[in-house]
């Protein structure tokens, strides 16, 4: 974000910076409808937010292209801004650079684990065909885990099972 203006003559800019910070906070706190413990900030899909003339323009990047949550998130952003009295808004989608699970914040990873979803491994090794990462059970911490299916309840998750505690769990797969 832009540095705080220091010269005395920039009160208007300062006020506008402060209000943009507030707007950003509102958008950043919107949660993913399918993983409601994660905010857009945690997911790392908020690519930008700026004022263009009288309009607030929010730039998001999709996690998976076909993910139905994308349009729900778009609506949630517009609704959150409208609730704060901002109706002149526009949400745009940016594809490049493609989102990666590496963009999920540390806080986001902690929240996922607490929610029962194993967070993705760092540095997405998606090219490693026929070789599974070591996935830690979010319940008991064991690495004695086995994949049930590459595809789970949402596009971003796989189904795994823990051999130690015998519980099934979701794994947020690397992309």
């Amino acid at each position: 974000m832009s540095a705080k203006p220091t010269n005395a003559g920039s009160t208007a800019t300062e006020a506008s910076d402060a209000s943009m910070a507030r707007v950003r906070a509102i958008v950043a706190a919107v949660v993913d409808p399918e993983i409601p413990v994660l905010t857009l900030e945690d997911l790392g899909i908020l690519r930008g937010i700026e004022r263009q003339d009288d309009q607030i323009v929010v730039t998001l990047t999709p996690t998976y292209i076909g993910c139905p949550a994308t349009s729900a998130i778009r609506l949630a952003v517009e609704a959150a801004l409208a609730e704060a009295g901002l109706t002149q808004t526009r949400v745009v989608t940016q594809l490049s650079p493609a989102w990666s699970t590496d963009e999920i914040s540390e806080a986001g990873r902690r929240k996922l684990r607490a929610f029962g979803i194993a967070p993705p491994q760092a540095a997405a090794p998606y090219g490693a065909l026929f070789k599974d990462a070591e996935v830690v059970c979010p319940r008991c911490g064991s690495t004695e885990t086995v994949k049930i299916s590459e595809f789970g309840s949402t596009a971003c998750k796989a189904q795994w099972r823990c051999r130690a505690c015998a519980e099934p769990f979701d794994y947020f797969k690397c992309i």
């Binding site: 998976y64 292209i65 076909g66 778009r74 989608t93």
Partner: protein, 265 residues
């Protein structure tokens, strides 16, 4: 399918060229036709996990198709949006590969069809992500990550089925034999494509063949299946000449939109 436009990344490299429109449409039609085929499995998967997986694969492909259609409509500049392109074109205007419109058959046939395609499409999209057309590059970079999972999933199943029971092996072998004649078309380019490839916008499809072959050989070997001989290859999809199956698929997919234009729910 309505959604706000995707942000334009940069001016397109080729401007308003009909060759580029047809090329992007062929990418879109491939994704939509296979995505629709896979969606036919929803509620009919062999297990609950696989039902979910097949629907997820369909979702990825239909999502990718939407982006390509929106872009094709934009560069065509005739006001056709993704819905118009998906729902209001007839069979002969569809440019998808014949392989992808083939009926699902049994689960082995669906997985064989998928591995044959994904083993091509994953490296193809990786190469396309370096396209001189910024919009195509962005879409391909995104989609190639998803296709990596498609390839892995389908390959694992083909190995399990081929190297499984007598029954599953026989079905996998039969499906491979039936589908093989549709694989040659993946490496062919239509009339306008070589110029696009030379301009760095498209990718020479034949250049992907060694990687495809290596992946397929590896999978088939583990699956204890024999790669069929090269043989005569069926073609025509890229020119709008389809097998009898596409018309039926489109009839089912398009009927609602055509009967109730502009329907929303």
């Amino acid at each position: 399918m309505n959604e706000a436009a995707v942000q334009q990344q940069a001016p397109t490299a080729a401007g308003n060229s009909t060759g580029l429109v047809a090329y992007v449409l062929s990418l879109a039609d491939d994704s939509l036709v296979l995505g629709h085929r896979l969606s036919e499995w929803s509620g009919h998967g062999p297990t609950l996990e696989e039902d979910i997986a097949l629907s997820n694969l369909a979702l990825d492909l239909i999502g990718q198709a939407r982006l390509y259609y929106a872009y094709a409509g934009e560069i065509e500049g005739k006001g056709r949006d993704e819905d118009a392109l998906a729902y209001l074109r007839d069979e002969h205007a569809y440019l998808n590969l014949l392989l992808l419109e083939q009926p699902n058959g049994d689960f082995a046939a669906t997985m064989l069809r998928h591995v044959l395609y994904a083993a091509f499409q994953h490296p193809y999209l990786e190469a396309l992500s370096a396209s001189a057309d910024a919009q195509l590059a962005a879409m391909a970079a995104k989609a190639s990550k998803e296709m990596a999972y498609h390839l892995r999933h389908a390959a694992e199943w083909v190995i399990r089925l081929g190297d499984g029971t007598e029954e599953s092996h026989a079905r996998a072998r039969l499906a491979l034999g039936d589908l093989w004649m549709y694989t040659g078309e993946m490496f062919e380019m239509d009339a306008a494509e070589p110029a696009l490839a030379a301009a760095g916008i498209a990718v020479d499809r034949a250049s992907i063949k060694p990687r495809w072959q290596a992946t397929i050989d590896r999978v088939l070997q583990q699956a204890t299946l024999q790669r069929p001989p090269e043989g005569w290859m069926q073609r025509g999809g890229r020119a709008g000449r389809h097998t009898e199956h596409l018309g039926h698929l489109l009839a089912e997919m398009q009927v609602l939109h055509r009967a109730h234009p502009g329907a929303r729910w």
